[in-house]
């Protein structure tokens, strides 16, 4: 235990020092890794218990567009805009979640509903082009360095913002993963009827997971927009984004705490690596590889990269148990 | 006809059969009795190919069945009426029979086989266009047996035919099995209802916790203290 805690402290220290050491380009990558890690981890809140969503772009989109629109049209600070976006996403999740869970829609049918939801949000954004700029996207009004507007030309500020957010997401996961809550969620994931029979309020637990996942994803979407200072329906709400989230979380390992973050490292490394290697000649190369890898992961490594480490740990534990006999 | 030697089978890490050996001669009716969880169904599944054996030999008419897939074993002449009937619920009775006669040889003789099966089970003919899932328990059992008979098997495996049926219906089912037996079929039947099955079969085995605990003629088993005490409540 002590070794583990020391390891974490060291890792954290390294992360804090990082922005002062990294050249600008890598800092840019690191920020994106942190933001996406938060989003992927939020997705995994649901995914690890069997609630696989392939429409999380909907929540990202709601979060991103809410805060951006409120800023551009009403000058409302993102400090309020982002929570409002999260609230919007939470309400959407509540509605969809309640409808589905009440009617016992689970598994791939639930996934199809989320897919449709993602499409609806993306299409509404495009349809309201007079307000949102449609497929061309929109740019939040830039005001230079401002805490009020949550805009910082200096990357370091965003880095720490992203880092804090990432740590908060991990903290939420920790809180949700211990004690009765986690046991309840696992029970629901395995056998809903049995879980209900033991008195677990299945609906409440599932809704809780869904709403929290949606809200955090929305925040991630907003922060991403703030950082890039640009958003369009494809990059924040499209099917592509939704599938990317699924892929990264699964590839990294959605059952472990740091798995999705590993997934973020993987996907960003892949995108950037391909861009450097092939330039613009091979647009779409990244997705080709994602697609292939997703297939391979589902068939051979459904627990993702972190899953490989899981097995080793249990293998090490067994000889000790035998010795105790 | 059927030779099982030293059969071992498992589900994942759970071992269900430990070196089971039994034999069925042509024309015989053989029973396997034992408590729940003894491995009776597992035994059936290994013979019919639904479950692979871990070790041991399985020979049918001199040929080894090792490694054969279920559909190959059916082609070799073994038909299995599974536990819980396992009819296709949204197919009609007639369509279920069609499935039983999928093998080319059976398909070629479909009409005559169907006629024969309907003569054996007139109630089924009345219900031929009814969805199998809507039949009563006893009718479903009859349909399941009829379905297996469509391939004119050399060996018929019956897995717990009395399960979930009212006593009167159980009697009907066993009378049916007697008739089938009378037509010359070789039958291996796994049963919880010890009384009924020992009245039907020539020989029987007692399977307990994956091992053969007792074997002999039906009469011998009926008289055995072990069987009388544990399974017949005497």
């Amino acid at each position: 235990m002590k070794a583990q805690a020391a390891g974490y402290a060291l890792g954290l220290a390294a992360l804090v020092v990082l922005p002062f050491l990294l050249p600008d380009y890598f800092l840019h990558i690191a920020i994106q890794v942190l933001i996406w890690s938060g989003i992927y981890t939020a997705w995994a809140f649901m995914g690890r218990f069997g609630l696989v969503s392939i429409g999380h772009g909907a929540f990202m989109g709601v979060g991103a567009y809410t805060s951006a629109l409120l800023w551009n049209y009403y000058g409302l600070t993102p400090w309020l805009g982002i929570p409002l976006g999260a609230l919007g996403a939470a309400l959407l999740a509540l509605a969809i979640g309640f409808a589905c869970f009440h009617m016992r829609i689970v598994g791939h049918y639930f996934a199809l509903v989320t897919l449709a939801l993602g499409q609806v949000v993306a299409l509404v954004i495009i349809a309201a082009r007079d307000v949102t700029g449609g497929s061309l996207g929109m740019t939040p009004r830039a005001v230079g360095h401002s805490w009020y507007a949550l805009q910082f030309p200096e990357r370091r500020y965003f880095y720490f913002l992203a880092l804090v957010l990432w740590l908060i997401v991990l903290a939420i996961r920790y809180w949700a993963s211990h004690g009765m809550r986690r046991a309840a969620a696992e029970a629901i994931g395995e056998d809903e009827t049995a879980a209900a029979a033991v008195g677990i309020n299945v609906m409440r637990e599932k809704l809780r997971l869904t709403v929290v996942s949606a809200a955090v994803t929305a925040v991630g979407g907003s922060i991403y927009t703030q950082y890039l200072n640009y958003l369009n329906p494809e990059t924040v709400a499209g099917v592509g984004v939704s599938l990317q989230i699924v892929f990264a979380a699964i590839a990294g390992g959605m059952y472990s705490a740091l798995g999705p973050s590993v997934g973020a490292l993987l996907t960003l490394a892949l995108t950037e690596g391909l861009r450097i290697l092939f330039g613009v000649h091979f647009i779409g190369a990244a997705n080709t590889i994602y697609g292939l890898l997703l297939i391979l992961f589902i068939i051979f490594m459904p627990r993702g990269i972190m899953g490989l480490f899981e097995r080793r740990r249990t293998a090490r534990a067994q000889p000790q148990a035998a010795a105790a006999d | 006809m059927l030779d099982v030697s030293d059969l071992t089978a498992e589900y994942g890490s759970f071992r269900a059969l430990f070196g089971v050996s039994l034999a069925v001669e042509t024309g015989e009716a053989v029973g396997v009795i034992g408590p729940n969880g003894a491995g009776k169904t597992t035994l059936m599944r290994v013979i019919s190919g639904m479950l692979p054996a871990r070790a041991g030999a399985l020979r049918f008419e001199g040929r080894s069945l090792a490694g054969m897939k279920a559909h190959g074993i059916v082609a070799a002449g073994i038909a299995h009426v599974p536990e819980n009937r396992r009819l296709f619920p949204r197919l009609t009775v007639e369509e279920n029979l069609r499935m039983g006669a999928f093998l080319p040889e059976a398909r070629a003789h479909f009409n005559e086989r169907r006629r024969w099966v309907f003569d054996l089970f007139p109630r089924l003919e009345e219900r031929r266009d009814q969805l199998a899932g809507t039949l009563s328990g006893g009718e479903q059992q009859m349909c399941a047996i009829a379905r297996a008979l469509m391939s004119k098997p050399k060996l018929l495996l019956l897995d717990e035919p009395s399960a979930g049926l009212a006593p009167l219906v159980v009697q009907q089912v066993f009378d049916l099995v007697r008739r089938i037996r009378g037509e010359g079929f070789t039958v291996l039947i796994v049963e919880q209802n010890v009384q009924q099955v020992l009245d039907l079969v020539d020989r029987a085995y007692l399977l307990e916790v994956g091992r053969i605990a007792l074997e002999g003629s039906a009469g011998e088993l009926k008289r055995s203290d072990l069987v009388r005490r544990s399974y017949m409540g005497l």
Partner: protein
């Protein structure tokens, strides 16, 4: 009635024929044998690209290119099942959705790599039939007829033939099929070939009316799933009816509002439909 509205209605009927044809293959795979090919529309896209390539680049006569496409996508269907679905057939269907989702990604991006994102047109102009003041597209009429014939054919195939009955049976109890002397793998592969072939047939007719581009699947995919669910999974006739209902919504909705909003309406309907399906039909 306003002549343009009438045209929208008729257009909707014609579109319905096309959608019904598209839905046939998916209904067989998703509706009958209960396998999730989320990349079904991408298979159609592959067929369309194949026809485009063979006809425009190599000068093959259209009918020959079409036949080749049907064969190609049928083979693709078989490979899809053998390589991707078979290893995960026993695990929860969500895995099938994710794995074929990966294939969706792959096919889209691969097409982008090969052909770029621009729209490609096969360049065949079929005649327009004029009924009074209304123009009817001949290619849509063809699709309409093909859909009706296909649905009827598939219905009879499933209901009356041995293979069709076996295909229906396998979704009800996969494990027991072996006890019938049926090689379940052969049934799945055959069905996958038929499903793929139907997708290929759809691409023949789609390519006459639409330009092909890598993201075509995003337009048609969700709608086709929706139609299968609406019409009752595995119900061929229901699928045809649902296709016409859906196409009317899209067509008339598009007439009154914008294109995107009519799509939104369609998707909202989808969500409502899935949520309201009686529990009994769920999760066979």
């Amino acid at each position: 009635m306003d002549i343009f509205l009438l045209e929208a209605v008729l257009d909707g009927i014609m579109l319905g024929g096309l959608l019904a044809l598209l839905a046939l293959g998916l209904n067989l795979i998703f509706g009958v044998i209960d396998v999730v090919w989320i990349c079904y529309a991408e298979l159609v896209m592959v067929g369309m690209y194949a026809i485009y390539w063979l006809h425009v680049y190599y000068g093959w006569p259209f009918l020959l290119a079409g036949l080749a496409a049907i064969l190609l996508v049928a083979v693709l269907g078989v490979l899809l099942h053998r390589v991707i679905i078979e290893p995960i057939l026993g695990s929860p269907p969500i895995n099938q959705l994710l794995a074929t989702g990966g294939l969706l990604f792959f096919l889209q991006s691969f097409a982008t790599l090969l052909f770029g994102t621009d729209f490609r047109n096969v360049g065949i102009r079929l005649p327009i039939i004029e009924l009074g003041q209304i123009d009817l597209s001949f290619s849509r009429l063809l699709a309409f007829i093909a859909a009706l014939l296909g649905a009827a054919g598939l219905y009879f195939f499933l209901a009356k033939t041995y293979l069709g009955t076996a295909i229906r049976a396998i979704s009800q109890d996969r494990e027991v099929m072996g006890l019938m002397g049926v090689d379940e793998r052969r049934i799945y592969l055959t069905t996958s070939a038929i499903g793929g072939g139907l997708a290929g047939l759809s691409s023949c007719l789609l390519v006459l009316q639409y330009d092909v581009h890598p993201f075509l699947g995003l337009t048609f995919g969700p709608i086709v799933f929706m139609i299968c669910v609406l019409g009752g999974l595995g119900n061929m006739i229901g699928g045809v009816i649902a296709a016409f209902v859906m196409s009317q919504i899209i067509s008339i909705g598009g007439y009154y509002t914008s294109v995107e909003l009519s799509d939104v309406l369609a998707f909202v309907l989808f969500i409502v439909m899935i949520v309201l399906r009686p529990k009994g039909i769920l999760g066979r």
